[in-house]
Each structure stands twice: as C-alpha cells, then as structure tokens.
Amino acid sequence: MFITCLPGIWIFISAFRPNAEILSKPANWFPDNWTIYEFTQMFSIEGYVSVPAFDYLKNSIIISLTSTIIAITIGMMGGYAFARFNFKGKNKIFLGLMLARAVPGISLSLPLFILWAKLGLINTSFGVIIVYVAMNVPFTIWLTDGFFRQIPKEMSEVARTDGCTRLQAFWNVELPLAGPGIAAAGIFAFLLSWNEYALASVLTRTIASKTLPIGMMDYLSEFTINWAGMCAIAVVMIVPAVILTFIVQKHLVSGLTFGGVKG
C-alpha cells in the first residue's frame, strides 16, 4: 500500500513547492514553503506564463469527452449485438475486434500520421477523436457485452410481450439496468483518451490540439527538467482521473470479468 501510494503523494507534494527546494540537497521531505506558483504560471488570467495548460486542459476535455460519447454509442450497439444475438462467425468477429485493439499505438502512428497529413487531419481535434473512438470501441464492446449478458434475456422478452418494440424494450428496460456498467465503460474509455500519449504525440503538435500528456513534455527541455511544473501539470491530469475511477470502480470489475463472449 505504501509503495502504491507513495509516488503519487510525492508528486502531489512536489507540485506545491518551489523548484529550487526540489533540487536542494540534502533533500527535505516536507516542503518548507507551500506554494501554488506553478499553478498560477499555467492558469493565470492574463494568459499563461510557463505552459498553456488551460488550452491543453480544454483540448483534453473536448477530445476525451467527444470520443468517449461516440465510442460508447458505437460500442454499446456492438456489445448488445454480441450479448443478445447468435450469428455466424460471432466469436471470430469478436476476436478480430480485440486483436485490432492489440495493435500498438506507436505502430499505428506511422501510417496514421501520413494518412492524416494527406487528409489534413493533423493538428485537429477531429483527427484525434476519430482515432480514440476506434481505439476505445473494442474494449467498450467487451465491457458492454458483459453487462448486457448479466441482464436476463427474459427482461427484454417480457417487455416485448408487454407491448414494447425491441428498441423500446432496450430503452426502457435493458439500458437502465446496464446503466451503471455502461457508465463504467464510458469512464474507462475516457481515461484511455485522457491518458493516451503515443498517438497524440504524433498527431497533435500545436496548442490548438495538444492534450495534457503531450503538454507535459513542454516542461522537458533538452537538458533540464522543470520538476515542479511537471508535477503540477501531473496533478491537473490525475485529479479528474482519480475522481472518475473511484465513482465507477465497482462496476468496472464486474464488467471486465463478465465480458469476452462466453460459449
């Protein structure tokens, strides 16, 4: 537990101390002067001083949210199909989708970079969003498939004999029941987009589309690192992620363990 938490805590502390103190030797464990200097540098009202964190944050939020919503919609449709229908090649298609996800981002980034450049999608949020949607869809399918599977088939059947169309049955019965699980899948997709680096680092190179993980690299110059600044931006990155994960942790586990096309 100690090992698990320590690195995070250390970063958190470091974000609130001046850079000079971090570099001091011997180290002092607790900061003498708490400061929000680095945060003001990033988010000052008159515009940023050190790193345009506000723009990065905005990009991150827009890109992550949009791609999550689209991925969840598409993924949910797929998950429903896998959970409720039997069709030819079902397991093969499922496996195929998963394997598509297994292609490492960096391998994908080379051709994507060239293609996106041709299509004029480099440095646009839209370009990144499409990529994140595709990255997230297989996993969303895995999760939602599991959640829909946990809802007895009879639920939908009884709704349909109660006078619902299949869509009404889905909307009134299955969706509310799978709701928490789908929210969990959504947050998982959100986190993946929020934290992604390899692809975004290639596809976004301007303030207009850079996300936080890429922005973090602004603090890394050739020979020096602004440790305090990096810690500060790390805190900006991690806080939303922590909050979201804690909200859905329970459903996340059950979703992961039920998915994966049984039988």
């Binding site: 698990t4 011997p26 994908l108 297989p138 890394l220 994960t245 998915g259």
Partner: protein, 295 residues
C-alpha cells in the same frame, strides 16, 4: 417497420467495424505497402520507390533489432509474470482481511488511473540520480554516492521494469480479487472435509476457479503492452546506448528521428505480430479455461 436494424446484429456491429477499418485496417494496409518501399518522410516521391523485401532483409540481418526484439519479449515475460504473481499475492492477502477491504481495494486501483506517460515521469523522478526520492532515501542511510539508476546500463532496465510493474499490478490484483470473492464456498469446504491441506485446496480448487480471471487479466494487459512505449520513452528514451530500447521505441526512432518510414513500418509489422500473438494466445486460453469450468 421502424428500427428493423435492431434485429440485425450485423447492422449493430457495422459502425464499430467501420471505425476500426478507418483507423486500424486501412493504415495497416498502407503501412504494409510502405514496408516494401524506401519511403522517407523527407522525400515524398520515395513512396513509389519499390524495393521489394529489402527492408525486411535488412531487419533480419540486423542483430541490433533482434536483440531489441528479444529484449521486448523478455521484458514482457518478466513484467507479466511478476505482475501476475504479485497481483495474486495481494489479492489473496486482501481477501483474507475482513476489515477495511473496500478501502484497500480502492487504494489499490490508484496506479490504474495514471497515464503511462505520467508513470514514466513519476518514476524518472523517483529514480533520478540527483534529486530522486530513492537516492534521497538511501542518502539517509549513508549511501552518499548517488546511484545512477537510469544511466547505469544494468540498472536502467530494472528501473523501467519497476515502473511497469507498479503501474500494472493493480489490474491483476483487482480482477483476481473479484475472482476470489466469486468462488463458491461449498467446494472449498468439501475439500477441507475431504482432508486437503490449505495448499492443496489452493492448488486444486482455488486456482482452477481463478484461471479464467487470470486469463482475463492477461488478455486485457496484452491489449495494452504497447503502452510500455510511453514509459520507456520518457524514462530513458531508449538509452543508455540503446540498452533499454524496446521494439516500439526503435520504431519511433527510425520512423521519426531518421524519417525512414518504410523501414519503420516493416519493423512495426514484426512487433504487431508479437502483440497479436500475445493477445490471441491469452484469449484462446481464456475460452479454454472457461469451458473447463463449464461456464
């Protein structure tokens, strides 16, 4: 009738397949093509300079690359095994604890939320020879000469492994804990009555029940192994002297720094095969272990 498409599973899956085709399949086909050319980013016309298998021949005769390939496999094997064992241990421990289990589980999930790039940075910070937490800590105990964790050739790989393991053990322990909690009590009690020692109970009852969960975790992990790129990239950038390069960092270096796309894409293909092989293997194992339990 409206919404007829809800009756057709293929229509429901279509959007997913289209999205993946655009972002994964088409680029892969394109990169497959470029892997047979001498395409360099700096010289766009070279895209049509067909060189046949030359890129592959070069790679196959490049011992540097094969060392990297081997190192990647070794890296993944060690990481996954340690993560699995550690995760299993933690899960077993937490399962024994009756008090504060929820809190512990929540804390355990902490690393899962960290971006790999953040994990890399965080450990770079900890392992920093000058101001790192670890060296500061050792300093307290009198090791005054700073250890260059990330610069020393032998230590660097270990440091990266530590970061990787820290970041990903959580997935294992969380899933295995869920598995442990789901094991029915009856077979365990029956085995006890039948005279099994606790080790035998673990080996013959608990472990078979956990197998699907182990493979779920391995499958999920194998989907993400490529993310180790982020960690290595920020911690050492492949150095010192390329000793910590994994296939992915090599690809990035050759593709972007040297701008030799054709070669990089050829290498990509070899490492994609590696990723897919891992995933496929675990996925089929997962299905087999589920069948064994009759699920």
């Amino acid at each position: 009738m409206k919404f007829k498409f809800l009756k057709s599973p293929i229509m429901l899956i279509m959007p997913a397949i289209i999205a993946i085709s655009i972002v994964v399949i088409i680029p892969l086909i394109f990169s497959f093509y470029t892997s047979f050319t001498s395409y360099k980013l700096t010289r766009p016309d070279s895209l049509f300079n067909f060189v046949g298998l030359r890129n592959y021949e070069r790679i196959f005769s490049n011992s540097e690359w094969w060392w990297t390939y081997l190192r990647t496999i070794l890296f993944l094997t060690i990481a996954l095994n340690v993560e699995l064992l550690l995760g299993l241990g933690i899960a077993l421990l937490i399962n024994k604890i009756t008090w504060g289990q929820r809190t512990l589980r929540t804390i355990m999930m902490f690393p899962m939320m960290f971006s790999p790039i953040l994990v890399g940075f965080q450990w770079k910070y900890i392992f920093n020879d000058n101001i790192g937490l670890l060296n500061n800590f050792l300093y307290l105990f009198g090791y005054e000469s700073a250890i260059a964790w990330l610069i020393d050739q032998k230590l660097a790989m270990g440091s990266i492994l530590a970061a990787e393991i820290w970041a990903n053990t959580a997935i294992f322990s969380i899933l295995l804990l869920a598995g442990l909690m789901g094991i029915p009590k009856d077979p365990i009690e029956a085995a006890r009555v039948d005279g099994c020692s606790s080790w035998q109970v673990f080996k013959h009852i608990t472990l078979p029940f956990l197998m699907p969960f182990i493979f779920i975790a391995l499958t999920i992990r194998s989907l993400d192994v490529g993310r180790a790129y982020d960690i290595v990239h920020i911690m050492t950038g492949g150095g010192p002297a390329m000793r910590t390069e994994l296939t992915w960092t090599t690809i990035a270096r050759i593709g972007y720094k040297d701008a030799n796309m054709g070669m990089a894409n050829a290498m990509s293909y070899l490492s994609i095969i590696l990723s897919i092989a891992f995933t496929y293997y675990f996925f089929t194992k997962l299905k087999a272990s589920r069948q064994e339990l009759g699920q």
